[in-house]
Assembly symmetry: C2
Homo-oligomer: 97 residues x 2
């Protein structure tokens, strides 16, 4: 059980910024949408304003690189592209209107 299951998402968040709830909410959204496709989602406490989402070795989102927090629509598209490229996302696949 200590061995991580893949695909592994990891959400690295800043505890000093009080982003645990945001990270946990993001994890729940992704585990709901990708219930059958994900091995696990790990929540990783960090510092210094970090908010990153990784899919295995791929950095899908970085608050500093990407200029803020992800919209769930955009994040789900990136997760889908990384772990389940053939999966349709329904309304999350359409451009924001």
């Amino acid at each position: 059980m200590t061995t991580p299951t893949t695909p592994r998402l990891a959400i690295h968040y800043c505890t000093g910024c009080r982003w645990l709830m945001r990270a946990a909410w993001t994890a729940q959204e992704l585990l709901t949408t990708f219930e059958a496709e994900l091995g696990e989602v790990a929540l990783i406490p960090g510092s210094g304003g970090i908010f990153q989402v990784w899919a295995d070795d791929t950095l899908l989102w970085d608050r500093k690189r990407d200029g803020g927090f992800p919209e769930l629509r955009e994040l789900k598209q990136r997760v889908r592209d990384a772990v389940a490229p053939d999966k349709a996302l329904g309304h999350s696949d359409r451009p924001a209107s």
Copy 2:
């Protein structure tokens, strides 16, 4: 980032039983109490009525073995004993009254 950080807690929950929210709530409780002591908490979708909490290689809680879901007080004591034996838990250290 794909390498898990230790101490690693893992919560293995049954998706068919709709225990994601319970697992995520448990994760948030543990990450709040053990903010500085945990490397990560992983949420792992499973089936068959599973609800287990692992600390690295140690099975801290098993719904089938332990006869139900953990009280947070009891679970926090087991996590503390596994990852931070010198940590005081305040009101969670006292017997339930």
